[in-house]
């Protein structure tokens, strides 16, 4: 059962990473325009290089 000492921190760390990613996306206002973002991915406007 020593493996638990390794696996529990690992699973918590992975979950924590997910939480951080969520907080980051929330801070970046990525939930302000869900409809627009769903449509924007279809446009090829900024496919070659990101919007400056």
């Amino acid at each position: 059962m020593e493996i638990l000492g390794l696996l529990i921190p690992v699973s918590l760390g992975l979950g924590g990473l997910g939480l951080l990613a969520f907080i980051w996306s929330l801070r970046g206002r990525q939930y302000d325009d869900p409809k627009g973002d769903a449509e924007r991915i279809l446009s090829s406007e900024w496919d070659d290089h990101p919007k400056p």
Binding site: M1, L4, I8, S11, L12, G15, G16, G18, L19, F22, I23, L26, R29, Y31, D32, D33, P34, K35, G36, E39, R40, I41, L42, S43, E45
Partner: protein
């Protein structure tokens, strides 16, 4: 860089909430030199191409630094220092999209956004904690023992306690508020369950106990927060659309100064100012006409469908519409003192005095909260007296509290309301008030206003027959020259028959009277009866007269155009067995004619605003729950008096403020649909209550008997929440 400016804009708005509420004037004074972003409303955008087109055309326009479309809100925010919305609207319209200027002062989106993000953050944190604790709990449920179990409990506790403290805050603070006012809301049992479950679990962990309820406490937070978020979303969508309606009317007036006209915000007008009112514009303040003559449309204020002739000396009220000639008006009362603002304030006062309606959820929680506390306390007492084991008794009481906790109840109402209002929103109906849907389900009588509600407030020519065929080109040429609604209606009717306009010389409009020209050497005129030397007579329909220079003037009658869907809507409400009434401030024959056309048996004409409100009050005294549909200032009191009220988007701001729902499109049919949808939504809410009750009836005896385990609590909670949500989604 440009992105930063957009963010700064939000930060600036939210850093000073008072600024958002203060009049535009102080904002301009305070932020002089700082460029505001321009916000345009784009009602017709719907796809990826629309977004790209609008952004590209705006970005290529010289002077524009950045443009960002928000498809959810159908708006574009443009960062263009030194430019005005008037310069940008044609740019967007040139590629075929409708655009309207929005007043950024009326949009207070940022504060509400923060609240939404705050709930989302708490959902995210409790979701993360729930998943990790569940992984550990599964190990405990499947038989982890001794030191392993204790370690898992300790780790769970280390995750759960901070999570409950953070994610449970909205419940704790609202429970505290309720307790301070001596009430037991839904949040008191929730908070008690959270605290008791965490405390007992810590105690059990310290003493190497078998059961810890960390998972249940966090799960409770998670599900209830989802209910809160749904609730918030519904209100945020409604509020932002309502704000947009207000923001569309940019309050601006043209002040006459020696150096020419200057545009000023309405908030800056003071009595004594001279302002110019262009034809077609709404009067921005109360005043008296100083020069010019025209006709005034008072339908929104009084319900009269016939325009009034206006000349120097006539008093105007804010909200009336100037029809034909430019007017110069001396302001007598502006802003807060104008009659329009006074009426709005009156309505606000009446609204706060209106008996507070308790929603189904509140009524359920009033029954529920004492019962839950009583059950938990009784089982604690029973077990303590029976076994004299304090630890066991507290454990059982905590299990009862957790299992009965209104997890499903907290989701039951928001899930149904979200589904119903989402569907109504797509049909063009906006719910402004949280309990409006439930009140709508109780409606058993519908009262309609006439002008602007059942009719469009736009005239329509009754018949072309009175005009001889050879005179039609002349009539068309005359009517095309004027912006008066009757002229426009005549021109449209003539164009539909394929008439070509005749060539006229010396065409000129005499504001307030009509339009004249010279045709084959004769003077021809189109206008008011007295100007053409005819008698208006007894008629009540709006009429215009055509003179061909010889013979008697020809009388042209106009009726009001029916709003699309009005017939179907009234027919459906009558068919559903509800009482339908028509109350109008207009003259009797017109009202009678409309009532007969729509099949409404009860109608009253020439009703004053006070009488309208009284009629509604009488209906309520008869024990009915009347729905009022109206748009004018004369309806506001009645809208407030009604059990539930609806106004079309074309209504005055005061009427929209007073009503619970706003109809966005011009079609009236969604009103009848909303009545039916409200009924089925109420049935669905009751079903949801029944479902959660069944879960409780099964689980509570087990908990009281002391057989409840954390696994059971987790299963009961998630099963009831999911079944309630699925049942709500059936409404779509």
């Amino acid at each position: 860089m440009s992105d930063a400016t957009l963010h700064d804009h939000d930060a600036r708005l939210s850093a000073c909430p008072a600024c958002d509420a203060a009049p535009l004037a102080s904002r301009i004074a305070g932020t002089r030199g700082v460029q505001e972003d321009i916000v345009l409303s784009l009602p017709t955008i719907h796809c990826a191409t629309c977004i790209t087109d609008v952004e590209r055309v705006l970005q290529r326009h010289p002077g524009v630094r950045d443009a960002r479309v928000n498809l959810t809100l159908r708006r574009v925010t443009v960062d263009a220092p030194g430019m005005t919305a008037e310069e940008l609207i044609p740019v967007v319209e040139s590629i075929g999209y409708e655009a309207h200027e929005l007043d950024p002062a009326a949009l207070s989106a940022s504060a509400a956004d923060r609240q939404g993000r705050d709930i989302l953050m708490r959902i995210g944190v409790s979701g993360f904690a729930m998943m990790n604790i569940m992984i550990l709990s599964v190990a405990v449920w499947s038989g982890a023992e001794d030191a392993t179990r204790d370690m898992f409990h300790w780790i769970s506790g280390a995750i759960a306690l901070p999570t409950v403290a953070f994610a449970g805050q909205p419940f704790f603070s609202s429970a505290w508020r309720a307790l301070r006012h001596g009430r037991l809301g839904m949040d008191v049992p929730i908070s008690l369950a959270l605290i008791l479950a965490s405390a007992i679990s810590v105690y059990e962990t310290l003493h190497s106990g078998h059961h810890a309820y960390f998972d249940a406490a966090v799960m409770l937070c998670f599900f209830l927060l989802i209910g809160r978020y749904l609730d918030y979303r519904t209100r945020a969508v409604a509020r932002s659309a309502a704000e947009e309606l207000t923001a569309l009317e940019v309050p601006r007036a043209f002040r006459v100064t020696p150096a020419g006209d200057e545009p000023v915000p309405v908030a800056e007008l003071v009595p004594g100012d001279l302002i110019r009112i262009r034809p077609g514009a709404r009067v921005p303040a109360d005043g008296e006409i100083a020069e010019g003559s025209s006709e005034i449309d008072r339908s929104l204020l009084t319900g009269e469908s016939i325009p009034v002739a206006a000349g120097p000396g006539l008093a105007l009220s804010a909200g009336e519409v100037n029809l034909t000639g430019p007017l110069v008006m001396r302001v007598t009362a502006a802003g807060r003192d104008s009659s329009l603002a006074r009426l709005t304030a009156l309505v606000a006062a009446a609204e706060s005095a209106r008996g507070h309606y308790t929603g189904l959820a509140d009524r359920a929680s009033r029954l529920y909260s004492p019962l839950v506390h009583l059950l938990a306390f009784c089982s604690f007492l029973g077990w303590y007296l029976g076994t004299h084991d304090l630890r066991l008794a507290v454990n059982v009481a905590a299990a009862v509290l957790i299992i009965t906790c209104p997890c499903a109840l907290g989701l039951a109402v928001p899930a149904v309301v979200t589904a119903a209002s989402g569907r109504l929103f797509r049909r063009g109906m906006l719910i402004k008030d949280g309990t409006a849907l439930e009140r709508l389900a109780e409606v058993d009588a519908a009262v309609f206003d006439k002008t602007g509600t059942l009719t469009m407030g736009v005239p329509q020519l009754v018949s072309l027959d009175p005009i001889p065929t050879d005179a039609r080109p002349v009539a068309l040429a005359l009517s095309q020259g004027s912006g008066h609604p009757l002229s426009q209606a005549l021109a449209q009717a003539l164009r539909e028959t394929g008439t070509e306009p005749a060539a006229l010389q010396d065409l000129r409009e005499v504001p307030g009277h009509g339009i004249s020209g010279v045709w084959q050497g004769r003077e021809v005129r189109l206008g008011r009866a007295d100007w053409l030397g005819a008698r208006h007579g007894e008629a009540t329909l709006s009429a215009s007269w055509l003179s061909l220079g010889q013979g008697a003037p020809i009388r042209l009658e106009f009726s009001d155009r029916l709003r699309p869907g009005a017939e179907a809507c009234v027919a459906r409400i009558v068919a559903s067995g509800r009482r339908v009434m028509l109350l109008s401030g207009d003259a009797a024959p017109v009202v009678q004619d409309l009532a007969r056309r729509l099949g409404i048996e009860e109608w009253r004409a020439g009703v004053t605003p006070v009488e309208k409100a009284e009629a509604l009050r009488r209906l309520r005294q008869e024990g009915l729950h009347p729905l009022m549909v109206g748009d004018g200032l004369n309806d506001t009191a009645a809208l407030t008096e009604a059990h539930v009220s609806i106004s079309p988007a074309s209504a005055l701001d005061a009427a929209r403020t007073a009503s619970d729902m706003v109809l966005m499109g011009s079609d009236l049919a969604p009103v009848a649909e909303a009545l039916e949808l409200a009924r089925s939504a109420r049935a669905r809410i009751k079903e949801n209550f029944a479902i959660s009750l069944v879960y409780n009836i099964v689980a509570v005896p087990i908990a009281i008997a002391g057989f409840a385990t954390p696994l059971m609590a987790a299963l009961a909670m998630s099963l009831s929440s999911i079944s309630v949500t699925l049942n709500a989604l059936r409404l779509r």
